[in-house]
Amino acid sequence: MITAEQKPIDEIRNMIAPYKRILALGCGSCVAECAAGGEKETAMLASALRMAAKINGEEVIIEEKTIDRQCVNEFVIPLDDIMEKYDAVLSLGCGAGVQAVADMFPEVPVIPALNTEFMGETKDQGYWVESCIGCGDCMLYYFGGVCPLTRCAKHLLNGPCGGSMDGRCEVDPDVPCAWQLIIDRLSRFGALDRLEKIYPPKDWSKKEGCGPRKIVREDQQK
C-alpha cells in the first residue's frame, strides 16, 4: 500500500486560509490502512480545523466526506453532485488521490493534507516500513525476497558495503542491513550461488522512463 502521514495542522491551516467552504475529503484505501486519511482521520482533522477556526473567530464551513478510492476516477465522479457547495477541497488522499481529484475538478483548488511517503507494509500496529520503490523490473527472486534497491541505503546490487556490522546498517543502526537479510535468506534456501554473479547496472529507464510512467492495456479497455 501507499503510506502517508498528516501534515502539521499549522501548515494545513495556512494553505486553506483563503477559503470559506471546504470539503475535507478522506480516502478509504491505503491511507485509511495507515491511519492517515481514512474516515476516522478525516473526521478528526475536520473537527480540529473547525475548532481552530472557531477559537480564532474565523467564519468557515468545513464538511467532511470519505470515498473509497480517490485515485480511481469512478469513485471520484459522484462528487460532482456536491462539489458546487465548496470553494476548495482538502484531500486526505495520497499524492495520486489529490491529483486525480484535481484532474476531475479543474475549477476547484485541491489541497494536500498528507505527506505521501512510500510503498510499504504494515508490520505491526502503528508501524509501517518501505519495501518497494517500484523499479519496473522486479529482482526479488535473485535476492531471496529482500529488495536491496529499497532496503539497502546505497541500493547495492552486488553485496554488502563495508559498513555492515552485526546485521545492522551503517546508515541507521535501527535498520537491519538488507544484505545480511539477503544472505541469510538465500543461505537458508541453499541458493547463495545466486550472489556469485555480478549483477549489471540497473536499467533505470524502467523507473525514470520519459517523465511519468503509464501502463496501457488494450485487453482491459472497453
Partner: protein, 308 residues
C-alpha cells in the same frame, strides 16, 4: 601525456608498495593540497585523494589529483558512486586520464546522511563493483556502458576497497572475488587494528586463490589518542580496534600518545610485510600527513624505488 602509473610499476616489480591518503581542503586553496603532497613526496609511491569523504563538501578529488600530478607525484583518484550517475562517472574517468591521472579507486562512498549535506539526493546509480567493471571495459574494450566505442581509451590502474572487518564475514571473500572479476587490479583495505581477524580474512582469500589475482594493500591509520581509538571502534562502522590496543594507548602519558600511535602503526606494517598475499600498505594518517615519513622510514620502507 604519456606517463604510466607508478603504483602499478612498483607492484608489478614485486616491491612492497606504499600509498598514503590526502584529504582535499574544505575550500578552494591549492596550497593546502600542495603542502600535504610535499610531506608525502619521496615517502610514498602514490597519493590517494579522497572524494568528499564522510559526505562533507571538499575540493574535488579530480582537481586535487591534477594538482598533485603537476608536482610530479603519482596519484590515486578516489571516486564514489554516491554523487554521480553513470554519465558523470564515465566522463570523469576520461577527463582524469586526459589530465595524466593513472590510478582510480572505485568506492560506494559514505552515505550522504553522514555529512554536511544531509538533504542531498544520493545517486548510487552504479554500485562499486559495476563501476569497476565499467572502468575496465572503458580501458580494455574501449567502450562505454552500452557498447559505444571510445575514440581513445583511458589509461587507468583500477582499484577497489575491501573491509575485512565488516559482516557477514563468510561473504567478504565472495564480494572480493566479484571485485576482482569485475576488474580490480589492486585492493586497498579498511584500517587494520585487529590483525587476527585480518589474517582470518586473508586466509579466506588465499583459499580461493584471490591473493594471486590482485594486489592487496593493507590499510593503516596511526592513532592519536585513546579517545580516537574508542571513537573509531564505537562510532565508525566497519572499524574494529581491539580492547588491548585501546588499553595500550590509555597506558601512556598524554604527551607520548601520538608516539605510541606511530609505534602501533609501524608494528602493524612490519607484520603486514611478513604476510604472504599482502603487497603493500596504504597509510591513512587523517590530518596528520607529517607522521607518514616517520612511519615509512621506521617500517624499513625507505627509500622508495625509483625508475628513472
Amino acid at each position: 601525456m604519456n606517463n604510466v602509473s607508478r603504483l602499478k610499476k612498483v607492484l608489478e616489480n614485486g616491491e612492497f608498495a606504499v600509498t598514503a591518503e590526502c584529504g582535499p581542503p574544505r575550500g578552494a586553496d591549492p596550497e593546502s593540497v600542495v603542502k600535504k603532497a610535499k610531506l608525502l613526496k619521496n615517502n610514498v609511491d602514490s597519493v590517494n585523494v579522497t572524494d568528499n569523504q564522510t559526505a562533507i563538501v571538499r575540493m574535488s578529488s579530480l582537481a586535487a589529483c591534477a594538482l598533485i600530478q603537476g608536482m610530479g607525484l603519482d596519484s590515486v583518484l578516489q571516486m564514489v558512486v554516491r554523487d554521480r550517475n553513470r554519465i558523470a562517472l564515465q566522463s570523469d574517468i576520461l577527463g582524469a586520464s586526459a589530465l595524466g591521472i593513472r590510478n582510480l579507486l572505485c568506492l560506494s562512498g559514505d552515505h550522504q546522511s553522514f555529512g554536511n549535506q544531509g538533504q542531498a539526493k544520493g545517486v548510487f546509480d552504479l554500485d562499486s563493483i559495476q563501476f569497476v567493471r565499467v572502468a575496465k571495459n572503458m580501458r580494455d574494450e574501449k567502450v562505454i556502458l552500452g557498447g559505444d566505442p571510445l575514440s581513445s581509451p583511458p589509461d587507468m590502474f583500477i582499484g577497489a576497497t575491501a573491509n575485512p572487518f565488516a559482516d557477514p564475514i563468510q561473504f567478504r571473500a565472495v564480494r572480493l572475488a566479484k571485485k576482482i572479476e569485475a576488474g580490480a587490479d589492486f585492493i586497498q583495505t579498511q584500517c587494520i587494528y585487529n590483525l587476527d581477524r585480518f589474517e582470518t580474512w586473508l586466509n579466506m582469500l588465499r583459499e580461493r586463490g584471490l591473493t594471486e589475482k590482485t594486489f592487496i594493500l593493507g590499510g593503516v591509520t596511526p592513532l592519536k589518542s585513546p579517545g580516537m581509538a574508542k571513537y573509531m571502534n564505537n562510532k565508525v562502522a566497519g572499524i574494529d580496534v581491539p580492547e588491548e590496543l585501546i588499553k595500550r594507548m590509555e597506558g601512556v602519558p598524554k604527551d607520548k600518545q601520538r608516539k605510541e600511535g606511530i609505534n602501533i602503526c609501524v608494528e602493524t606494517i612490519l607484520r603486514l610485510k611478513e604476510m604472504p598475499g599482502v603487497k603493500g600498505v596504504h597509510i591513512m594518517a587523517i590530518e596528520w600527513e607529517e607522521a607518514v615519513g616517520e612511519i615509512v622510514e621506521r617500517s624499513g620502507l625507505l627509500p622508495r624505488p625509483s625508475f628513472d
